[in-house]
Amino acid sequence: MTNILLDGSPKTPTVHFDSETGVLELRGRSIPENSIEFYKPLIDWIDQYARNPKPQTQLRVQLEYFNTSSSKCILDLFKKLENVRSSGNEVQVLWHYETDDEDMLEAGEDYQAIISLPFKMIQVEEVDKK
């Protein structure tokens, strides 16, 4: 299957979903007015990936901002990854937050409370925006 490689924009994140390595990255800002339109292809991609996943999958989330419109879509990404995990594969979420950004840490913890995937909270000086 083809990988997803999208450059970030002022309102949408850099996306790199790699089916060869099992590393899925979401980086930058996710604040589009219409998040469903942006996330639909990403969610479909994971659906397809779930049919033949790597034994280990890692979702690296490194967001500076995300809006509430994106938050439901990001939850959907996690839910699709729950399917990958329930079929016996290892899935891990790396949730990055900036040192003084307790709001972003809380946001990660909120997902962690809802989703049955192992989360690792990673504190960074500054999120990688590129």
Binding site: P10, S35, T68, S71, K72, C73, L75
Partner: protein
């Protein structure tokens, strides 16, 4: 027509209210990007604390997107017939020694007022940990609204503010109401 000598009065009023940015008109996604960019640049100058900068930016972003998604077009019949441009709204950001206020206003359908008021009152009645629980349950319940957020916007705004949301409804005619919202972010 506005008299030329009123320009100073308008300017003076904005100054007195400590408005650092104001916009009235139609909002498009490009315009929202431009305003957010401007807000971000101004905050770098006015706000030393990174965490507060991010909170204010978040509140402004959610407020602008609320305006974009929920504004109403149509015609106001009172006090005099006026056509509403689609997505016409007003946004102002005030800054003084106690912090920031994000003020927005827009027309909405009168029929939707009671539901919105209920949601605002619910959020205002919550302690911070209750707000967090409300956010989580609304996030996890699987419903999407027209804007995709599933009614999370107001909860998120209240969480980032940490203060009660101040709001008002001004009835315009049988079908339309003007909704005002003031979100404070204290420093």
């Amino acid at each position: 027509m506005i008299m030329v000598n009123r320009i100073f009065d308008l300017y003076d009023e904005l100054e007195k209210q400590r408005i650092m940015l104001s916009f009235k008109g139609d909002l498009s996604p490009d315009l929202i990007s431009a305003i957010l960019n401007l807000v971000e640049q101004k905050l770098v100058v006015t706000e030393p604390e990174h965490r507060i900068r991010k909170r204010v930016f978040n509140v402004v972003m959610e407020c602008l997107q609320n305006l974009y998604h929920h504004n109403r077009s149509g015609t106001i019949t009172k006090p005099e017939p006026t056509a509403l441009d689609e997505r016409q709204g007003v946004v102002m950001i005030a800054h003084d020694s106690s912090g920031y206020s994000v003020l927005t206003g827009n027309y909405m359908a009168k029929a939707e007022v009671s539901e919105l008021k209920e949601r605002l009152d619910q959020v205002n009645g919550c302690a911070p940990d209750q707000l967090r629980d409300l956010y989580k349950s609304r996030l996890g319940d699987g419903t999407f609204t027209r804007s995709g957020g599933g009614g999370l916007g107001i909860i998120d705004i209240a969480r980032k503010s940490g203060r009660k949301l101040e709001y008002g409804f001004v009835p315009m005619d049988n079908d339309n109401t003007f909704f005002s919202l003031n979100v404070n972010v204290t420093t």
